[in-house]
Each structure stands twice: as C-alpha cells, then as structure tokens.
C-alpha cells in the first residue's frame, strides 16, 4: 500500500513536470488565446497574424496535392494547407474557425473529397492518435529546447514555430494507377449525407460572414472520385454563388497516372503535387484577388522557410 | 595434479592455479587455450574429453579440471 502511494505520487509529479515543460516549450505566439493542445493540432497558429492569403481545407488529398511553397516560389501567394488525414467536415469547420481568428484569407478552398467522408464510423486507432496529439503535444515541440538551452551554439532554426511545409506532406513514392475512364458520365449522382451537408453550410456561412469567397476544388484522384460525386457537388451548390473546380474532368493539370501517384491514383505524389500547385497558382492569379508578396519585407520569413523546405526535400531524397 | 598444473603454467603462466577459481569466467583461459589444454590432457592422461564436458564449470579451477580427469579415467 505504501508503495502504491509512492508510485502514484511519482507519476503525478512526473505529469506535472511534463505539463510545465510543455508550456515552457510551446510557441508563445497565440498562447493567450489557445491552449498548447490547440497549437499542437492547428499548424496554422504558428503563422504570423494576417499573412495567409488562401486557406486550403480538406483531408489527405489536400496535403498530398497542394504544396504552398511551390506556389510561393512562382506566384508569391501564401497558401496554407489546413488538412489532416481523414479530416471530417465538422473538424474542418472547427479548423477554419480557428484559422480565421488570426488570419484574414482572401479565399478559402474546400477540397470536395471531405464532403463524401463516411461520418458514421471512426477507426479506433485514429481516435487514439487524435487523443495522443491532444495530450502529448510535447512530441511536437520538444525540440524547442534548442531555443532556450545553450543558445550561444549553432544557428537558430525555427523549429515547429512555423511549419516549413505549410501543411504539405512530401511523399515521393510511385505506384501507378490503372483505371480507365474513371470519370465516365454514366455514373449516377451520389448524394452527400446530412451531417456533411450541415457542416458544409456552416463553412459557407462562416465564409460569408467574413466576406471570404469560397471555392470548391476536386484535385486529381483516380482512386475514389467519379462523375457521380461530381454531380453531387453540383447539386449541393446549385443555387449558391460558389465556383467548382474539378481537376478530374479532362485532366487539365496533365497528370501522368503512371508516374505521379503514390497509391494507384488515390493520392498524388510529390511530382503530381508540383503540377497541381502550378495549375492552382495560375488559377489564383486569374481570380485577381491576390497580390505577389515575394518582394515584401513582411514576408521575408517565407523565403527562409522556402530555403529550409528545399533543404529538407533534398535530405529526404537521400534517404 | 602436479602434472596438470605444469601443463597449465606452460599455457598461461600469469595465474596462481592454487587459488584461482574462475579460469574460464575470468577469461584467463580463452577458447584457443582450452583447445591446447584439452589436447595436452588427452595425451598426458590418456583420456578422451567429450565435447559435452567442455563447459566453464569443469574448467574454472585446476581442482575442477583434475576432478574431471579422474572421473573420465574411472569411466574408461
């Protein structure tokens, strides 16, 4: 019994230490408004106030297909991927709410795949993962000790304060897709379920309240996208003023499905993402909503991130 | 017994065989030395030492080795 008490005390003290250290190491930025847990989940909170032009909301398709740094390099627009694997519409809504608290984007892009996610079942290990990242936020910030300890040594790297990938994930794997004519117009319309519709409307409302135009985008996805889903989206936005950009119709991006997908067409790989980012950059330019920030002093840190991004890709390539 | 100590001293002179009781575990005899030792014992005392008997506990002291030899001689 005595040992039991001792063990519990030991663990309690350990947890206290971990929590204290977490708060010490978490980025101070935005801390007055959000908890450490929030900051660890929402990468965009690491960005400086009012610097993001475009928010790309969605699931893994977003972080596989849109690389903000590629758009920055060629167009000077600041895009951020507010995406998580298998993100649900209600989580996406939450993310957008957090994002526009500190940012005033000129455009919100909503990836359509998220609207077809099955909201009724959840995988348990996914739940555990989510729970984990909520409480074990030290995982993300532990390297910030470098900022505080031995600060006279070596160069200062902006560890996790700013996400150098801006939400993008680099995956160079190749696994060709083989489907033929996956956008056959014969496919019957697929309805969007009530929960997804509800949260879509909430997202739209949020955008309207903040006077941000919304665009629905469907990135090249041979794995699960089809004409039926395309028709479903068309129905959803029938009477609303929302542009719908479906990159699956006639392959305007020019994806080579033998080389530019990592899992038989479900997600694009790095090569594919470059093409989509190029296309999207051009699209953004044509909207006339955005300005090129490449020469602006305020956005100097984006060039620093770009340098680290390149370096990181290079190192990843070695592996 | 004296003969045995003689052999041992020739192979590894740095040990006091009267007192040392961790010849193998203390790495005074490495496996190659044990090979020489076994082949000398077999010649000198006219016994066959089977592989199973070559375990640290049989070779950790001069006394132990001597016991092994005596036992094997009896079994012959």
């Amino acid at each position: 019994m005595k040992n039991m008490g001792k063990s519990i005390l030991f663990l309690v003290l350990l947890v206290v230490q971990i929590v204290v250290v977490s708060y010490l190491l978490a980025p101070k930025y935005n801390m007055d408004k959000y908890t450490v847990a929030d900051i660890s989940i929402y990468d965009i909170l690491g960005e400086r106030k009012d610097t993001i032009d475009v928010i790309a909301l969605g699931d893994s398709l977003v972080y596989s297909s849109i690389s903000p740094m590629e758009i920055w390099k060629d167009y000077g627009y600041t895009v951020f991927d507010c995406a998580k694997a298998a993100q649900l519409t209600r989580e996406g809504y939450q993310y957008l709410k957090v994002a526009i608290d500190t940012q005033h984007p000129k455009l919100v892009i909503l990836e359509a795949d998220m609207l077809y996610r099955d909201t009724t079942k959840l995988k348990w290990d996914y739940d555990i993962q989510k729970l984990g990242s909520k409480f074990l936020f030290l995982k993300k910030f532990h390297n910030n000790w470098k900022k505080y300890l031995f600060s006279s040594l070596g160069e200062d790297v902006p560890y996790t304060k700013e996400n150098i990938y801006k939400g993008f994930k680099y995956i160079p794997k190749v696994e060709p897709g083989t489907k033929v004519n996956y956008m056959s117009s014969q496919t019957k319309r697929k309805e969007i379920n009530p929960e997804n519709t509800e949260y879509f409307l909430k997202i739209w409302q949020l955008c309207q309240e903040n006077e941000i135009p919304l665009v629905i985008l469907s990135v090249p996805n041979m794995g699960t996208w089809n004409m039926g889903k395309h028709k479903g989206i068309e129905k959803l936005i029938e009477d609303k003023d929302i542009p719908f950009l479906d990159l699956n119709i006639d392959n305007p991006v020019g994806i080579d499905w033998t080389k530019e997908t990592r899992d038989k067409g479900r997600h694009l790989n790095y090569e594919g993402s470059i093409k989509v980012s190029q296309y999207l950059g051009n699209y953004l330019k044509k909207t006339g909503l955005l300005t090129d920030h490449r020469e602006e002093e305020k956005y100097k840190s984006w060039w620093e991130c770009y340098r680290l991004y390149r370096k990181s890709l290079q190192e990843e390539n070695y592996r | 017994m004296e003969k045995l100590v003689e052999i041992l001293e020739e192979l590894q002179p740095e040990v006091d065989y009267e007192t040392c009781d961790n010849l193998v575990d203390g790495r005074y005899l490495d496996s190659l030395t044990i090979l020489s030792l076994v082949s000398e014992i077999e010649d000198t005392f006219d016994v066959q030492i089977p592989t199973v008997e070559i375990i640290p506990s049989n070779f950790n002291s001069a006394k132990k080795i001597w016991e092994l030899i005596e036992r094997l001689q009896e079994e012959e």
């Binding site: 230490q17 532990h142 190192e315 | 490495d30 190659l32 090979l35 082949s39």
Partner: protein, 528 residues
C-alpha cells in the same frame, strides 16, 4: 512494431502486466504465452505457422530421444559388456539421425527465408560465367520475425537433450513459450534452456522491486536509443549512402558514429528486453559487458553479443574442434611440430567455421561474409603473434599490466572494431572498400568544417550527444570497476533517487531525437 514504440511501451506491455498481475499463479505463464503469440502474430501474421512448426519439431524430437534412451537402458539391463556396447551404439545412431533431421528441418526454414536468394544469385552468376542459358528466379520472402534467433535457441535445445545435458521437456506449453517469449523474440538474447527454464515458468508475482528495476532498465534503454542512436542516424545514413560527396574526416566520423549507433541501438534494445522480462521476474542472460573496454578482439567478442558468441562456441567451435577429421589433422601437426602449432591449426579450422557462420548469420551479403573473415583474420593474427609480442615486451622491459599499455590496447581494439563495423554497415562490399580508401585519401579539412554541422546535427545536438555519451561511459566505467550503479542508487535517499529518475525520463522526452527533423533507427538486429 519495435520495442521502442508507443504501442509496445504504453499499450502492449502495460496490458500484459495488468493481465499477468490479476491472474492466479498457475495461469501466469500461460498469459505470457498468449501475449507472445499475439505479439508474433501482430508482426508476422500467418508466418506464425513456422514458429509453431519449429516448436513442435524440437518438442517431439527431444521426446523421441528420451524414448530411445529409455528403451536402450531397458534393453541393456543384465547384458554382457560387449553386447551392451553394441546396443548402446545402435541407440546412439538412432538419436544421431533424429538430431540431424531436426536440425536440418529447422535450418531449412532459415535457409529458405534468409539465404535462398543469396545462393541463387551466386548460382546465377556461375551460370553466367559458363554461359548456361538459364537462371534461378529470385523471390523476395518476408521472413517470420526473429527466425534467426529462435532457430538458434531451438537447435541449442535439441543438441543439449541429445547430449543428455538437459532433460527433455514433456510439457508442450513450456516449449512453445521458450521459443516465442515476446521480449526476446525480435532481437534475442539467445537464451539456452537451462538459463531461463526456472524463472520463465515460475509465474512470479509482480513485485514493487521487480517493477521498479525493470522500468529503470527500460528507461535507460530508451535513453541510449532515443537520445544517442536516433540522433546519429541521419549523419550515418548520409555518409554511408553518399560516400563520394563527403570528406575523409566526415566519413571517418560516419564510421565511428555507426559503431556507437549500433552499440546504443542494440544494447539499448537489450535493456528494454531484459527490463521487460525482469518485471515478470524472469532473468535473461546479458548480451553486453562493456565491450569497448576490451584489450583485444578475442575479448571484444566475449563482451559483445555474448549470447551469440556462446552459441557459436558451444555448438560450432568445440564440436568442430573435436570432430574426428579435425582431430586427425591436429595430431598430424602435433607429431610434426608441437602442441602449440597443432592447437593453433585446430583452432583455425574451428574459428573459420564459426566466423563463416557468424558473417552469414548477420545477413546474406558479401559485406557480412567479409565482416566475418575480417574478424577471423584478426583473431588468428592475435594468436599467432602473441608469443612474439610477449617476447618483445620482455626485451624492451615493457610492463604489460601498466595502465598506459592497457589504454593503448583498448584504443587499438576500438579502431579495429570501427573498421569492421564500417564494412558491416556498407551498402555493398565495394562501397566499404571505397569508403575506407577515401577516409585516408580524401583528407579535406575545409570541406569537413563546412559539412560537419549540416548533416542533420547542429552544435546543440553534438553537445547533447557528448553529455549523453558521457553518462553512458561513466556508468560503463563504474560497472567495469565492479560498482553496481543501480544498487548504489537504490541506497540513496528517496528525493535524490527521484531526481535521478526524473532527470532520465525528462531527458528522454526532451532530448530524444524524435519528431520533425529526425528519423529513428529501425531495429537493426531484428533483420538478421
């Protein structure tokens, strides 16, 4: 799933401890068996079939041997001496055949999964040379986890039963658990049956003492793996994969870092493994004894991966040394020269067998074969020159027990080990030679200065490395002096003790090389 995952440390192990704790004493070993099979199935899925086959094969063949022994004993009762001998011989022959079949059976799986491709590619190369118009198709198999480890345990068990060193186990469950015990299944230690049988089936109650000691050991393993090994990984990977890009000094650091990484990874895993078992009151044999304090290569191998060395010594070295053909050869040399030469020849043959197997055991590749023969050569040279060195020292009146002489010996041994591990890690054998050559020919101090801080590690990382290595060195040094640091700590006051534990845990959490910017080491020995 490696032992260094959240899944193992925070879900699997605690769950097993919990179930083990609430079950009655008799059921406890069964809990371990079920957990072990779940663990194996989790990683290797239906390949678990091969583990079961191996367990069954040694179980039945050892019982068969016992039966043969019993029948022989009954038969010879009251017989003449001559007749007795003849029947005993016959029984022995039967046992021999059974033993041989069991060993072949078990090795055939190992061969199939690990070596088929290697030998097939050698075959194909030969066909090419002779312009034969066919080739063997290479198929990549996913091997059952730990097959290199449990196969050796299985063989040690049947051989020991054959020699009547141990009793054949009649309880099948015990046999199944012996081969599959989850902490040891992936990377050893390769425990002989007598070493574990008492504690493995005891069903020891969980105790505060065991729990604390086990957890401490696990945390120390995490310290080695997460702070040191994982941190060095990117540097090592970059240097070994891009030999031509870096200066010789950087490559030399790469080689040294790899040896450190390997030690920290493997011995750290052993700490987690032995610590996990300790929680259940099970004592596993140690695999390391401060190897970097060795004075020569022979000693190094008695301190590094000890259980593999012991296995090879008991089941390869001695049997080969005392086999009939080798004995004949050695007696020839005995007549011609003397005992020393004959023992040297005998040892050379046996060591050759040991190191061929040691090299191949680590993997089917020429760099591993080379690694084996490299150490074989060093060992033989050491033995051949020993008399001359000893003579030389006497002549120049060098005291071989002096501290400076020891330090010199330790330095030399480490250097030789670094070179060996360089080949061990090299992607191919020719890469190994290239790297070794460039260490000496491509000495570029300026290039080194610019690249040293751009290989995944910055100044702060190096500082942390130095401190962590200092801690591990200090503990090893004290152990080498015969001081048990754990016993020492347990005698201190509670506040001091807790401060030490907290420092260890927090340093793993803070300074562990995980998350963005790092890439953890894959379990190295699990692939062997």
């Amino acid at each position: 799933m490696s032992y260094f995952t959240v899944k193992y440390l925070f879900f699997f192990l605690p769950a097993v401890i919990l179930v083990y704790g609430i079950m009655p004493k008799k059921i406890k070993p069964l809990v371990l068996l079920v957990a072990s099979y779940l663990f194996f199935f989790w990683i290797s899925k239906k390949l678990i079939f091969f583990l079961i086959l191996s367990s069954l094969s040694i179980y039945f063949s050892s019982l068969g041997m016992r039966r043969i022994d019993r029948i022989t004993k009954e038969k010879v009762e009251g017989m003449e001496k001559e007749e007795k001998k003849r029947i005993k011989q016959k029984g022995k022959k039967k046992k021999q055949i059974l033993l041989l079949l069991t060993i072949l059976f078990n090795f055939s799986f190992l061969f199939y999964f690990k070596y088929l491709n290697f030998f097939a590619s050698i075959g194909n190369a030969l066909f090419d040379i002779f312009h034969a118009d066919f080739s063997i198709r290479l198929v990549k198999h996913l091997a059952p986890i730990g097959i290199s480890f449990y196969t050796l345990q299985a063989i040690s068990y049947v051989v020991d039963v054959y020699h009547e060193k141990i009793e054949a186990e009649s309880n099948l469950f015990k046999m199944l658990l012996y081969l599959s015990f989850f902490p040891t299944i992936m990377e050893g230690p390769i425990a002989s049956y007598p070493e574990v049988k008492d504690s493995l089936y005891e069903g020891t109650r969980l105790s505060y003492h065991n729990l604390c000691f086990g957890l401490q050991r696990i945390i120390f393993g995490l310290f080695k793996k997460c702070i040191i090994a994982d941190r060095l990984n990117i540097f090592v990977k970059l240097t070994f994969d891009h030999i031509l890009q870096y200066s010789g000094i950087t490559l030399a650091f790469g080689a040294i870092f790899y040896t450190i990484l390997l030690y920290m990874e493997f011995s750290g895993t052993m700490d987690v493994v032995i610590g996990s078992a300790e929680i259940f009151g099970i004592k596993l044999p140690e695999n390391f004894r401060q190897p970097f304090f060795s004075k020569n290569i022979s000693e190094f191998w008695s301190r590094w991966h000890i259980t593999l060395g012991n296995w090879l010594k008991n089941y390869v070295f001695y049997p080969v040394s005392f086999s009939q053909p080798v004995k004949k050869i050695s007696s020839f040399f005995k007549k011609k020269f003397n005992h020393r030469v004959s023992a040297l020849v005998m040892g050379a043959i046996a060591l050759f067998a040991v190191w061929s197997l040691n090299g191949l055991w680590h993997g089917a590749g020429w760099q591993f074969v080379f690694f084996g023969y490299y150490h074989f050569t060093l060992l033989m040279l050491g033995n051949i020159f020993e008399p001359w060195i000893s003579l030389g020292c006497e002549k120049f009146s060098i005291h071989r027990k002096a501290n400076w002489y020891h330090a010199l010996q330790i330095g030399k041994t480490c250097l030789l080990v670094f070179i060996g591990e360089l080949f061990f890690r090299a992607n191919t054998l020719s890469d190994g030679f290239l790297m070794l050559q460039r260490i000496f020919t491509h000495f570029d101090l300026q290039q080194f200065q610019t690249e040293f801080f751009h290989l995944g590690l910055d100044g702060k990382d190096y500082l942390i490395l130095l401190i962590a290595l200092g801690v591990v060195f200090l503990i090893s040094f004290l152990k080498e002096r015969g001081v048990s640091i754990r016993e020492k700590i347990s005698l201190k006051t509670i506040s001091l003790r807790w401060i030490i534990y907290y420092a260890l845990i927090m340093s793993v959490i803070l300074f562990g090389a995980y998350g963005p910017g790092y890439e953890p080491v894959e379990p190295i020995y699990a692939d062997f």
